[in-house]
Symmetry: C2
Subunit: 321 residues, 2 copies
């Protein structure tokens, strides 16, 4: 059966009507760097979030084994109970070399697979240093235009992926679990700074209370200006759905605080700056390394290697071009 | 006691005479982004490696717990036995937020601390996404000018730090250990591509032969063009110095192969390109975000948020300025 190629405007119109196939196709175009990508982004522009509107973007991260998939599924169930439409982006920080991805979980969370109010997509982080796919910000634009109320971006917390998630999200949930290490020392550096909500999953296991106590005391010790958000620490058992309502309540509270305090707008400006900057830098790198440009960068590298220039002078020369 | 500030040229001259204090001060200037950094780099330029000369840069990476510090120490001992001068950069991938660093190990490897043929320095990866400090390439230039024959760059293999180390090094050693996970699945994606030499440390423990067997069969299965390097897999017990001589022999063999095949030059060009590009991109980001420039990036972000522009059009506008 032959099919006329759909224009970006047509696809965006159908995505706005909630058609999953159109949404999926737009995300594929974004992910593959399709030639029509610029047209897609232009077609999506009128449906941008604004500083305070749009979907609420929730980052969800934690070490391997804390139960991210079950937690995501439990949160989706709770959000659906509240009649909210939910998008899920599961970002897989696979090797930037192999391009391979453990995407078997594309079919996971099958309980939500037939729910038209839920859109689930796995994305590989291939070709991008760091845990979050380069295409994630643009995929968020697709889901935003398609009218999802909440978008969960889930990624395993290895390396810098938590940091990237936190820079992308309106609210960041850090998942922990008892038995993943002993005491305060086991908390990875930096999670205190990125978590807006902490969930201790598998909290029916021994040690959950100690993890919560340690975490709460670390939170209370941190310097925090007047009126700042104080991250709650919630015990969950995601496999049973326990604690999911409390986590969603906390997301709501954080969102209300962030709108009121200006933090939401600040984060959205930062997210958009990051996105524009990343696109510009990618374009520049392609230009500098291209054969058309006589591979300017190679020439400068050879001059530095030969001792005729130094890296700073070479960078100046590159920027002057 | 007051002290006249030393010029970069003076410091470089003294570093070339092997004076540890001058070397340390130059690396600090590089690390802190000192105002004289450009002068330092210009003063170092004449002592650049060339495509085939200079120190041999050896990357050493592995998961937490495989014994990186003891392995580094054992390799230093073996290299000293061969009368080679050795620089060690231990890069600490701490949180980019906290700026804190677990630099207690600055005093580790104390057996080499009094050896004038060994220079050891810990560097924090702060302010840089990824496991390798942004200043590492310039610190390598300082050590290269100071005449070290081999420079070991050691980093814990989390997130993308292995990939960054492999892009930096002439030869990359990947450390593994038995009991860190079961079988082939436990090997992190991508290590096959980055390892030039594999060392199974703690090989007096159960399971070392299985790790070696599995790894060797993976290596033999990989597509490899005619004349390509085939990474050896060496059993070591770093605490006893066992296997260190074999690892150093393999580094030598890889170096000889890399010189002969052109791979050494290819890697050095890539490393220098990466270094120039990173400096240029950092300069651009500072320019785009600066208040002097009316914070162009903020203005564009606001236009995208308001739906008046899209991120690609905004990136174009940024690049046109």
């Amino acid at each position: 059966m032959s099919r006329r190629a759909e224009s970006p405007d047509e696809l965006v119109a159908r995505a706005r009507e909630g058609e999953a196939r159109a949404i999926g196709r737009l995300i594929s175009q974004v992910e593959d760097g399709s030639p029509v990508l610029r047209d897609v982004m232009a077609a999506l522009a009128p449906y941008a979030d604004g500083a305070r509107g749009g979907p609420h973007i929730v980052g969800l991260t934690g070490s391997p084994g804390v139960g991210k998939s079950t937690s995501t599924s439990a949160l989706v169930t709770e959000l659906r109970r509240r009649d909210l439409r939910v998008g899920v982006l599961a970002v897989d920080p696979s090797s930037p070399f192999s391009g391979g991805a453990l995407l078997g979980d594309r079919i996971r969370m099958s309980e939500h697979a037939t729910d038209p109010g839920v859109f689930i997509r796995s994305m590989a982080a291939r070709g991008h240093l760091g845990g979050v796919s380069r295409a994630t910000p643009q995929a968020l634009r697709v889901l935003g235009a398609a009218g999802y109320d909440v978008i969960l971006v889930e990624t395993v917390g290895v390396g810098q992926s938590e940091v990237e998630i936190a820079r992308l999200a309106d609210t960041t949930i850090v998942l922990l679990a008892p038995g993943m290490g002993d005491g305060i020392q086991a908390f990875k550096a930096g999670i205190l700074e990125i978590g807006d909500v902490f969930a201790i999953n598998k909290s029916d296991r021994e040690g959950a209370d100690k993890v919560r106590r340690d975490l709460r005391s670390m939170i209370s010790l941190a310097d925090r200006p007047e009126g700042a958000w104080r991250p709650p620490v919630i015990k969950t058992v995601a496999t049973e759905g326990q604690g999911a309502a409390e986590v969603v309540d906390s997301i709501d509270e954080h969102r209300a605080w962030a709108r009121e305090s200006g933090e939401l707008e600040r984060r959205r400006v930062r997210r958009t700056r990051d996105e524009i900057e990343a696109i510009a830098l990618t374009a520049l790198r392609e230009r500098w390394g291209s054969v058309d440009a006589g591979n300017r960068l190679d020439g400068l590298a050879h001059a530095v290697i030969a001792g005729e220039s130094d890296p700073y002078a070479a960078a100046d020369a590159l920027l002057e071009d």
